[in-house]
């Protein structure tokens, strides 16, 4: 589903964020991406929906070679990738419902389908009763779950999360991780960047370790 082959990313400032990273994430697989801050976790995630372009190597996502993807195809690639941001990136002048509905409206779903799917997604993250509220009235954990509902509402085959539990207490963080595991169980390919090592350990999933832009470890849980 996601194939990295010798992928490098060098910023125009000369800073080398990723150095020849190679890994292969299968369809329906779940993995964690860990490492110190500045190790390149965010950069790696952002290459997948082409928020940034890699400067070396090759990336294949959902059967598409990103290097050969014309820019007018990027929107359609992004519709296949649900992205959860550490800073939520919610629109604060819109209700929770409208925030979650955004990917569906963009993809041109009919209003009745939008309503049905948004309610289903909000129900999944336990925020069905908050649909009319503005995001500002919600707690940080609730806002994060609105972000998750938005990322999964159009049922993308790939789900990426950048530090989804960054500001949450351990109990909430664990709940969120559990939610990702549930999505994975219905076939979604999930890749989560996180530095919460103990939490990752408790999930018992494949873990990729980045250090200064290089992939130094790729461990599978022992059964």
């Amino acid at each position: 589903m996601i194939i990295f082959t010798d992928v490098s990313k060098r910023y125009t400032t000369g800073q080398e964020a990723l150095k020849k990273v190679s890994f292969h994430l299968n369809r329906g697989e779940m993995a964690f991406l860990t490492g110190h801050s500045g190790a390149g976790k965010s950069t790696l995630l952002r290459l997948i929906p082409l928020i940034e372009r890699n400067t070396g190597g090759q990336i294949v996502v959902h059967g598409q070679h990103l290097g050969r993807l014309p820019s007018q195809r990027i929107p359609y690639l992004r519709r296949d990738v649900g992205f959860i941001f550490q800073e939520h990136k919610l629109l604060f002048d819109r209700s929770v419902f409208d925030n979650v509905a955004l990917p569906l409206v963009i993809a041109g779903y009919r209003p009745q389908d939008v309503r049905r799917r948004v309610r289903a997604a909000l129900d999944k993250v336990g925020l069905l009763k908050k649909e009319k509220q503005l995001p500002i009235t919600l707690s940080s954990g609730q806002q994060q779950r609105v972000g998750i509902a938005r990322a999964v509402v159009n049922k993308p085959p790939i789900l990426l999360a950048d530090e989804p539990t960054g500001n949450l207490d351990p109990k909430l963080a664990h709940e969120i991780m559990q939610l990702f595991a549930e999505f994975n169980q219905v076939g979604v390919t999930v890749l989560i960047a996180s530095h919460a090592l103990s939490l990752i350990k408790s999930m018992g999933q494949r873990t990729l370790v980045l250090q200064q832009g290089q992939l130094i470890d790729d461990t599978y849980p022992h059964p």
Binding site: G63, Q72, L77, A107, Y109, R150
Partner: protein, 330 residues
């Protein structure tokens, strides 16, 4: 969260595009989205009514200036057409036609229905006039005979500025055996028309420049709007919005600016002409001339609205094209 998981091998060549899921891209959904965006733009427009109405007023004044001038020009054309009543015809008689014949011809012509008055300029009078005015007195003295013909100056009845219509009369007069040349005294009218033509060109140039100004006004307003909705654009892009999707609300906003500006211009022009109407009526009464002031017709008004809308959309388009790529997700 049920997903069918089709078995596709990673090593197979990538499809040129991912097949859209069945729920998306329904025509009615697309249309509804347009209606939704349009209504949202209207709502957005009235969220800051003072600012937006001020922008509309600026566009309105810009559009009202050439529109008003063109209507004024239309009135000038109309007025000069009325002046056609003073148009005269000169009949140059043959050199060997005597003054007696000229006088009897003038009597004859006066009996016609389509001729109001005839003035005879005899050969002697013509010579004297020429002597006084031309400064060739000495040259004329050197001649043995008077080289100038007698002239009949006719005032036709009901002639308008459309000269073609009166060619019949002119041809008829020229066919008379005593007449050498028959011609309209149209130089001053032609000059007037030429001046009006120049003014019209000037107004069209001015209108083009002011249309460009409208594009800039709309473009700049849209630019500010793009920056204030920076975050929304970024999030939309992150979740797969095409450029068309992002462009749409701004194009509708541009349309609203153009439309409201054109409505403003229409009102402004009509108000100005309403203010002019009374004094002009009074003036035309003093000249005993029936003169109807032309104002903006429904057709011209609709054209004005159309121009406003088109300018609004183009201005918005240019602005969005220029600034949209600057906003990329970070």
């Amino acid at each position: 969260m049920k997903r069918s998981t089709p078995s596709r091998n990673h090593s197979t060549p990538p499809p040129s595009r991912v097949v859209p899921r069945s729920q998306v891209k329904k025509g009615d959904a697309w249309l509804m989205h347009h209606v939704y965006v349009f209504l949202a733009s209207i709502k957005q427009f009235f969220r800051t009514p003072i600012t937006n109405l001020m922008t509309a007023a600026v566009i309105g004044i810009t559009l009202a200036l050439p529109t008003g001038l063109l209507v004024l020009l239309e009135n000038a054309h109309n007025l000069s057409a009325n002046w056609g009543g003073t148009l005269q015809i000169s009949l140059f008689l043959g050199v060997n036609v005597t003054d007696e014949v000229a006088h009897s011809l003038s009597e004859q012509l006066l009996n016609r229905d389509d001729i109001q008055s005839v003035r005879v300029i005899t050969r002697e009078e013509a010579l004297n006039e020429y002597r006084e005015l031309s400064g060739f007195a000495d040259a004329l003295d050197a001649l043995d005979t008077n080289p100038l013909p007698a002239v009949l100056v006719l005032q036709p009845i009901n002639i308008d500025a459309n000269l073609d219509k009166n060619n019949g009369l002119l041809r008829e007069l020229e066919a008379l055996p005593e007449v050498d040349i028959a011609q309209f005294d149209i130089h001053w009218l032609q000059r007037l028309f030429a001046i009006l033509e120049v003014i019209q060109r000037g107004i069209i140039v001015l209108a083009s420049v002011l249309c460009a100004a409208v594009l800039l006004i709309v473009g700049n307003t849209i630019r500010l709007s793009i920056y204030s909705r920076h975050e929304e654009i970024e999030v939309n892009k992150l979740f797969g919005a095409t450029n068309g999707f992002i462009r749409r609300p701004f194009l509708y906003t541009g349309l609203l600016y153009g439309l409201s500006g054109a409505i403003f211009a229409w009102l402004l022009v009509n108000l100005s002409f309403w203010l002019l109407e009374q004094p002009i009526k009074q003036l035309s009464r003093l000249y005993y001339a029936p003169f109807e002031l032309i104002t903006l017709t429904w057709q011209s008004g609709s054209l004005l609205l159309l121009i406003g809308v088109v300018l609004g959309i183009i201005g918005a388009w240019l602005s969005v094209e220029r600034h949209l790529h600057e906003i990329q997700p970070h």
